[in-house]
Amino acid sequence: MDARLNGVAIRVEALHVVRGGKVVLPELTCAVAHGTVTGLLGPSGSGKSTLIRSVVGVQRVAGGRVEVLGEPAGARPLRSRVGYMTQAPSVYEDLTVRENLRFFARVLGAERGTVERAIGDVSLDDHADRVVSRLSGGQRARVSLATALLGAPDLLVLDEPTVGLDPVLRRDLWQLFHALAERGTTLLVSSHVMDEADRCDALLLLRDGRLLAEGTPAELRARTGVTQLDDVFLRLVDGAAT
C-alpha cells in the first residue's frame, strides 16, 4: 500500500454530492494509484457515475476535494490529459466513426495518427466509414471509448465501457486497458458486473454512495474468506449492516 501512496493519480477526500435534492455521495474518501487499472464496482444507483463525473470535473460538488494528477478536478491543464467515456455513448449519431474521431482529435489538438490508432484499438476498422446511427449499441459504445483514447491521455476515466459487448471483445478491451497501464496510463473503470472485478489491479466497492471496501481482489478475498467476488461483495454488505 505504501508504494502506491507515493503515486496517487486520483485523491478523493470527503466528497459530498447532492443531485436533484438527494444526497448521492455523503462523504466519500478514496484514492486511485498511478499506472493501475482500478475497478469502480457497485450496483446501479450506487453513485459510480457521480464519482466519475466528479473526477472529470463536470459534476457540481457540494463539499470535499477531488485531486486529479496533482490538480483540482476539472482544472484547465487536465482537459488534454484526461480521457473520459460517458455512460451513454456521447458521439454524433449523424457522423461516421472516423468523422467523430477526427472532430474530437482536432478539438484536442492531437496528431492525426491518433485517430487511426484509436479505431484499431477498439476494433472498428471495418466500420470506420459507417454513420454511427447505423451501428449497434455495443459498437456505439466503442466509438465513445475510442474518443476517450485520443491523444494518449495520462488518465482514462471509463464509465461502464464493456456493457453489451461479447466476451471476445470484452477480453480484448481488458487486454488493451492493461497494455495502456503498463505504458503508465492510469485507468478508472466502472462496472456493475462483479465478474469484471478479477480483471482489475485494484478495486473500489461502492454501495449507496459509501465506500464498502478498497484493495486488490486478493486482499478483499483474504479479508472476507470467500473466493467468489460476488460473495465478497455480499459479505462486505452484511458486515457493514451489522
Binding site: V58, G74, S90, Y92, F103, F104, L108
Partner: protein, 244 residues
C-alpha cells in the same frame, strides 16, 4: 479563443448538415416556394410583392437558423456530447463561434439561391444594392443562430424547443414594422417593437430597398451586430462546465 477549435466545430456542424440532404433541400426550397407564392398571390398588385419580397428574403434565414440551431444545440445538451466537450480543451465561446460560422456559411448559400430566384426570375426590385440584402440575410441568420443557442438552454425536449419559434419569432415579425408601419402602432406596441432586434433588421432591409443607406441604416446594422454579441454572451452564460 482558439481558431482551431472554432474551425473544428464549424466543420463538424457543416458535416452533420451535409448528412441530411432533406433538411438542406427544405432550408433552400421553402423560402423559394414562399417567394414564388407571394409573387403569384399579389400578381395583380406588384407593389405589395415589391414591398414584402426583400424583407422576406432578408428575414427568412433568421427564422430557419433559429429553429435549426436551437434543436441542434438541444441535442448536444441531451445526448451528452456537450458534457463530453466540456471536459476537453474547448472554450465556450469557441463552441458558439463555431456554430455561428457554420450557419453563416449555410445562410449565405440560402440567401444566394433565394436572391437569384427573387431578383432574377420573379422580378423583385430593390433600389439599393442587392448584395446588401444578401449580407443582411447572413447577419440575420447569425442573429437567429445566436438566439437559438441561447433559448436551447430553456428547453428540455425538442417539442419545447420548437415552441420557442412562435414564442420568440412571431411577435418580432408582427411588430417589426412589416405589416403595420411603426408610426401607426399604439405607443406601448412601439416600445416593445423598439426592444426587439428584428425591428432593426427589418428597418435596415427597408432602407436598402429604398436605397437610403444613411446614418439610420448604419445604426440599424450596429444594433443587429450588438444583439448578436449579446445573444452569444447570454448563450455562453448558459453553458456550464459543471452541472447538477
Amino acid at each position: 479563443m482558439s481558431l482551431r477549435v472554432t474551425g473544428a466545430v464549424a466543420a463538424r456542424v457543416l458535416a452533420q448538415l451535409r448528412r441530411d440532404p432533406r433538411t438542406i433541400a427544405l432550408i433552400v426550397g421553402v423560402p423559394c416556394l414562399l417567394q414564388t407564392l407571394l409573387k403569384e398571390l399579389f400578381a395583380g398588385s406588384s407593389p405589395v410583392f415589391q414591398h414584402v419580397g426583400a424583407p422576406l428574403l432578408g428575414l427568412f434565414p433568421f427564422v430557419t437558423m433559429f429553429l435549426v440551431t436551437s434543436i441542434t444545440m438541444l441535442r448536444e445538451r441531451t445526448t451528452g456530447t456537450l458534457e463530453r466537450l466540456m471536459t476537453l480543451p474547448l472554450g465556450k465561446f469557441d463552441l458558439l463561434a463555431g456554430y455561428g460560422a457554420a450557419f453563416a456559411v449555410f445562410a449565405a448559400l440560402q440567401a444566394t439561391i433565394v436572391s437569384a430566384l427573387a431578383f432574377g426570375l420573379l422580378g423583385l426590385h430593390v433600389a439599393g444594392p442587392q448584395v446588401v440584402v444578401g449580407a443582411l440575410a447572413v447577419a440575420n441568420a447569425v442573429l437567429g443562430t445566436a438566439l437559438g443557442l441561447f433559448v436551447s438552454a430553456f428547453a428540455q425536449t425538442e417539442f419545447q424547443a420548437v415552441q420557442f419559434m412562435p414564442a420568440m419569432v412571431f411577435p418580432q415579425i408582427l411588430l417589426c414594422g412589416l405589416f403595420v408601419g411603426r408610426s401607426s402602432m399604439a405607443a406601448w406596441l412601439r416600445w416593445i417593437s423598439d426592444a426587439m432586434p428584428l425591428t432593426y433588421a427589418y428597418d435596415a432591409l427597408a432602407h436598402t430597398a429604398a436605397d437610403t443607406l444613411d446614418g439610420r441604416f448604419a445604426a440599424d446594422v450596429a444594433v443587429v451586430c450588438g444583439c448578436i454579441v449579446l445573444a452569444l454572451a447570454l448563450g455562453a452564460a448558459t453553458l456550464r462546465r459543471r452541472t447538477g
